[in-house]
């Protein structure tokens, strides 16, 4: 089972890697939304890669460590980065505590603009966390320099459609 999941993830990431000139987006999938009261059921971690080739949005990802089996996986389209919104697409998901997610999606012009603005997020639901177990906002690739390793400038992702810095005026 594990090797099958691994194989699918490798296949998906390999496919994504071969599309030269495509737009890529990525996210870490982390337990959320989370309180101390739900932490026992909202566990695990994962990652997702999304590639827009001009026609199709290809989604691949993996996850592990859920307290109960995954039931559904979806892409949501929020009104802004970090702001929940309505469901936009269903994804395929392994019905287990670890596995993969995948999908091939067609976007409207508005949805493509929303993707580029950072409004899309991936959510995996599970039996005991039906309203969200792992989530993550799809953003352009942003490699981590390492613990305590300085980078030039502010170092956080651009704000897309949220506010202008007054110092940039």
């Amino acid at each position: 089972m594990v090797s099958r999941h691994l194989g699918m993830a490798v296949l998906a990431s390999g496919l994504l890697a071969t599309q030269a000139g495509a737009e890529n987006f990525e996210t870490r999938l982390s337990p959320s939304p989370l309180t101390d009261g739900t932490r026992i059921n909202v566990t695990g971690q994962g990652s997702a890669l999304v590639q827009w080739d001009g026609n199709i949005l290809s989604v691949s990802g993996n996850f592990a460590g859920l307290a109960t089996g995954a039931t559904t996986a979806e892409i949501y389209d929020g009104p802004g980065i970090g702001i929940p919104g309505p469901k936009a697409f269903d994804l395929s998901v392994t019905q287990d505590t670890s596995g993969t997610i995948w999908g091939s999606l067609t976007l409207s012009r508005k949805q493509l603009a929303d993707l580029r603005a950072g409004h899309f997020y991936v959510q995996i639901n599970s039996a005991k966390a039906p309203d969200g177990n792992l989530t993550g906002w799809l953003l352009p690739p942003h490699p981590f320099a390492g613990e305590g390793v300085p980078v030039a400038g502010p170092g956080f992702l651009p704000q897309f459609d949220v506010p202008q810095k007054a110092s940039n005026r």
Binding site: R28, P33, G82, A145, E147, G153, R169
Partner: protein, 713 residues
């Protein structure tokens, strides 16, 4: 069996008829009755004997509790209590104790006992078994327990080691040079005379022995275990080779700063009864140490002996008030703030000044604008008693040339516009910079950074005074993570810079700096879950910035996490109060689980020079030095020395528990020392990572100070 039946009958009588329409609770009468004593021992110190809540602790009974928990389940309540309580020490009690406490909380909300004991795994919607109405007999019993300790609340049995209070160690300093206005304005290089070291609030030392090339050789010189229990975010104060330390339980100690030898100790008390609300600093003036205490009193100690010279009451601690922000001394007056002003009552929060020699109050400045007063029309016409908050929990700074003291205020209470019913009003003078005349308390100007704040995003933190040519500026950064620059003569907005991802403001007016909240924030109603990035841990929180005058860099410790916050209903009634916001946490987009960020901003250009991320958030203020070396500590017990100009790590070590407090540097006999604290009870900056980063562990004891220096050779 007969005995059990009798208990059940008694319990049913106590619980009364109010819960007739409700289903039976998933607990027994034996459980809730046993839970009452356990609640008093382990919970009442924060949540109150009548479960009404206080300070940062929410109500556990009544309409506010049911509004927050009615649609949630009994197993979620159990899991929350078990994993996070007592505050800062989750999972420290046995499972049966947690079950009984939860049974008591449910019973106190009108739930009736049943035949089966509560196991913790029953997923029953709380609104189906409880309506928030505490049975009369049970309420009367809750009011009965013996009182004592901070704020008049019962003291938990195992919270703070039993000790006697008073002058527990006597001794006299060999010499002591009284602190003058001139010394405060121009401190000796080796001294650290106040919270942020200088009146400008820089947290910068002019000492330069420790450099980027030799910092790797730093070694421990001495350490000192401090009081455990309560909250510790200490700033050591150093004058002429003597270190004055404020411990929990308002214990003040004088130590030889070179050797760590104790000279005198005064355990003022009372014992801490809650794991939040630390006293962050002491203040010096003349031959006195000024000690604002967690029970909202102000003491003057003889600096030579530690003996109490005078004491006065700032506000009544039995009503929940406290002082955590420390003090600043100006012109023979000691200025202090006030916190936990989040209940509906006729009183309001204030900044106040006292004569250093007598303790007599000189003035008070009320931080809430009432009806008919300037700014009083910013509260949506709310009656005065329902205008609360605007606490001052960080001590102010001071410009001797302008003779102006600068203070930040916290948000209005309850947290959300919907719970407050304050509409789109700015709720002055909440979340503002206040410029006051230190002699009279008269307001010179104010600037509202976040008019009508909605998410527990304080703008209360340090006001840092920096001159750029002829421009006299004041800089500050709040929980939203916007670094603000104002003209400190006029209060006019000059510039701002975003330092972490944020989605709270849609835009900031480039001329006035007035932010516009997202539309869904403006339209939010009670019961709506609304996103806030950053969440209540900041952005920036109490771990303070440092300004390095050589490089014109402000080094800012930043926190990266988000919440969904739901406004809860708040009954408009005297005595009712609280923050009325439920929270669910999530990772800040784009941070990949790195809650910590340290960033260096040029205060002229407001551009970032460098930044780095790490998993653990920072829990110390930053120190910079003239040697070009900065210091900062974190949730994961790590302390780093870094190069100010590049952020490059030069040296690191780990402490017994989270590095927490305010790092300082001083010199004795020509040798430079770095004092770093480990501590507990850091509020949201600790609470959020405790939930989000369960794989980072730190012991729940270990308040201490560690002093490092270069080897003598």
């Amino acid at each position: 069996m007969k005995k059990l039946l009798g208990l059940s009958v008694l319990a049913a009588a106590l619980l009364g008829a109010s819960a007739v329409a409700l289903e039976q609770g998933p607990f027994t009468a034996d459980q809730w009755r046993a839970g009452r004593a356990l609640y008093v021992a382990d919970c009442a110190s924060c949540h109150g004997p009548e479960l009404k809540g206080a300070g940062e602790a929410p109500p556990l009974a009544g309409s506010t509790f049911i509004a927050a928990w009615g649609n949630r389940s009994t197993d979620e309540l159990y899991n929350l209590v078990k994993t996070s309580m007592p505050y800062g020490n989750g999972n420290s009690l046995d499972a049966d104790t947690y079950r009984k406490i939860v049974a008591y909380v449910l019973a106190a909300n009108g739930a009736q006992p049943g035949a089966k004991p509560f196991s913790g795994s029953e997923a029953i919607k709380i609104a189906t078994i409880a309506d928030g109405k505490t049975p009369a007999a049970m309420a009367a019993e809750a009011r009965a327990p013996a009182r004592g300790g901070e704020g008049g609340a019962p003291r938990p049995a195992s919270f703070y080691p039993q000790t006697r209070f008073g002058q527990t160690v006597t001794g006299t300093l060999k010499s002591y040079d009284p602190v003058t206005d001139v010394m405060l304005a121009h401190p000796k290089d080796g001294d650290w005379l106040m919270y942020r070291r200088n009146y400008q609030g820089w947290s910068h030392s002019p000492l330069s022995q420790i450099t980027a090339s030799n910092a790797k050789n730093l070694e421990l010189v001495w350490s000192w275990a401090m009081n455990d229990g309560g909250a510790a975010q200490v700033t050591p104060i150093v004058h002429d080779g003597i270190m004055f330390l404020s411990n929990t339980a308002n214990t003040v100690q004088a130590l030889d700063a070179k050797t760590g030898e104790l000279i005198w100790e005064n355990r003022i008390g009372p014992a801490p009864t809650r794991a939040y609300g630390a006293t962050r600093s002491l203040a010096l003036y003349g031959d006195k140490i000024l000690v604002p205490t967690t029970d909202a009193k102000l003491y003057a100690l003889d600096a030579r002996t530690g003996a109490i010279v005078w004491q006065t009451v700032i506000e009544d601690a039995k009503e929940g008030y406290s002082n955590t922000g420390g003090a600043i001394t100006i012109h023979g007056k000691v200025l202090v703030g006030l916190t936990y002003c989040n209940r509906y009552e006729t009183k309001h929060c204030f900044i106040s000044a006292y004569d250093v020699n007598t303790g007599k109050v000189a003035w008070r400045f009320k931080t809430i604008a009432l009806k008919g007063e300037p700014g009083g029309d910013t509260w949506n016409n709310l009656p005065d008693e329902f205008r609360q908050g605007a606490e001052t929990w960080i001590a102010g700074t001071y410009d001797p040339v302008l003779n102006t003291t600068y203070w930040g205020t916290a948000q209005s209470k309850p947290w959300t516009r919907a719970s407050r019913a304050s509409g789109a009003g700015a709720t002055l003078y909440a979340n503002s910079t206040l410029a006051l005349d230190p002699d009279s308390g008269k307001l010179k100007w104010y600037y509202s950074h976040a008019p009508g704040e909605n998410f527990d995003l304080d703008e209360v933190f340090e006001r840092v005074l920096v001159d750029h040519g002829s421009s006299k500026d004041v800089l500050t950064i709040g929980k939203v993570g916007i670094l603000w620059k104002l003209n400190r003569v006029t209060g006019q907005y000059e510039d701002s810079a975003q330092t972490v991802f944020q989605n709270v403001f849609d835009k900031i007016d480039p001329k006035t700096g007035i932010p516009t909240y997202r539309k869904d924030v403006q339209d939010a109603k009670v019961g709506d879950w609304i996103s806030s990035c950053p969440g209540p841990a900041g952005g920036h929180d109490w771990p303070a910035t440092s300004y390095d005058p050589k490089s014109d860099l402000m080094i800012i410790p930043l926190h990266q996490s988000c919440v969904l916050m739901r406004a809860e209903p708040m009954e408009k009634k005297i005595g009712v109060g609280g923050d009325a916001g439920s929270q669910k946490l999530f990772e800040m987009p784009g941070t990949d689980g790195n809650l910590g960020r340290l960033a260096a901003y040029n205060t002229t250009t407001m551009k970032a020079l460098w930044s780095f991320q790490q998993k653990a958030p920072f829990l110390t203020g930053v120190l910079t030095t003239d040697g070009g070396v900065g210091f900062v500590g974190d949730f994961d017990r790590r302390v780093r020395a870094f190069e100010t100009l590049t952020g490059r790590t030069l040296w690191q070590t780990r402490l017994p528990t989270s590095a927490q407090g305010h790092i300082v540097s001083y010199a004795v006999d020509g040798k430079q020392y770095i004092a770093i604290e480990s501590g507990l009870g850091g509020g949201s900056p600790v609470g959020k990572p405790t939930t989000l980063l369960p794989d980072i562990h730190h012991p729940n004891n270990g308040n201490a100070i560690f002093v490092f220096a270069l080897p003598d050779n």
